[in-house]
């Protein structure tokens, strides 16, 4: 079970991990976080959650939990992290409908207009789908440790 972080979802190490996973010998649970802005970053609480997810996943795998228990845990964890960093479509829609209201104090109307236009609401590129495999597609045999 692996957990990685990359700014580029097409990074060679990710493709390599996916190829390894496809042969059935290793399952890779990737967490992909895409940023629209180069200076975006995860907050400390989000990083802690991701680290907890990866370490608990390793623990769950090594402790040979019952298939259904591990399956339920992973589903819950991925859903929780998705919610945490705004993965769900509903949350993205919410962000579009409810942009952060701010007051702008400037000196010139021209620059203020440019800033206002530039600050139009948009979806910040934070989402993290599991790379492989879709949990719902797994059979009971595939969860055997």
């Amino acid at each position: 079970v692996g957990c990685g972080h990359t700014r580029n979802s097409r990074a060679p190490e990710v493709r390599s991990a996916l190829r390894t996973a496809e042969d059935g010998s290793i399952w890779v649970f990737g967490v992909r976080v895409l940023f629209k802005k180069p200076n975006s970053r995860l907050s400390s609480s989000q990083v802690l959650s991701l680290l907890s997810f990866s370490s608990l996943t390793l623990l769950a795998a090594s402790s040979r939990l019952r298939n259904t228990t591990l399956h339920t845990y992973l589903r819950f964890s991925l859903g929780y992290i998705s919610l945490l960093v705004g993965n769900s479509k509903e949350e993205k829609d919410l962000k579009m409908d409810q942009p952060i209201p701010v007051i702008l104090c400037g000196k010139t109307a021209e620059i203020a207009k440019a800033v206002v236009n530039g600050l139009q609401p948009e979806i910040e590129g934070l989402f993290l789908p599991p790379l492989l495999p879709p949990l719902s597609a797994l059979t009971e045999n595939q969860w055997s440790m």
């Binding site: 802005k37 989000q46 104090c105 203020a112 800033v115 530039g118």
Partner: protein
């Protein structure tokens, strides 16, 4: 951006109603901004033309109105910026977005204080 203010006196006259969740008595200057006052503003972004004294005055006005939980976002003058013009606006937008996103992610938008972008 729901409202734009271009002078400190204008700020003084409009900020109490804005931060109490009500529309201002006078419209936003030059009608810039969404004018959507259904939600209370959670941050005040200032340009480089607002110095320390102006910010302090504006903070005092907020306190007088019983509002101390709105953060002020100020440009970091140590960060190089393009000359005034389209590129200046774009550079400021990028920095403001990054700052607001960070404050929002860390739950600091309702915490007051002065933050530099």
């Amino acid at each position: 951006v729901v409202h734009v203010i271009l002078t400190v006196p204008s700020f003084t006259s409009t900020i109490p109603s804005l931060l109490s969740g009500n529309p201002p008595a006078s419209p936003s200057e030059d009608q810039i901004g969404t004018q959507n006052y259904t939600r209370r503003p959670v941050a005040i972004v200032t340009g480089a033309g607002y110095d320390d004294a102006m910010i302090e005055t504006m903070q005092e006005e907020c306190k007088k109105g019983g509002v101390e939980d709105v953060p002020f976002l100020r440009p970091d003058l140590n960060v190089p910026t393009p000359p005034l013009g389209p590129k200046y606006g774009a550079a400021m937008v990028a920095r403001v977005k990054a700052c607001i996103s960070e404050l929002a992610e860390e739950g600091r938008l309702g915490g007051g204080g002065v933050w530099y972008f």
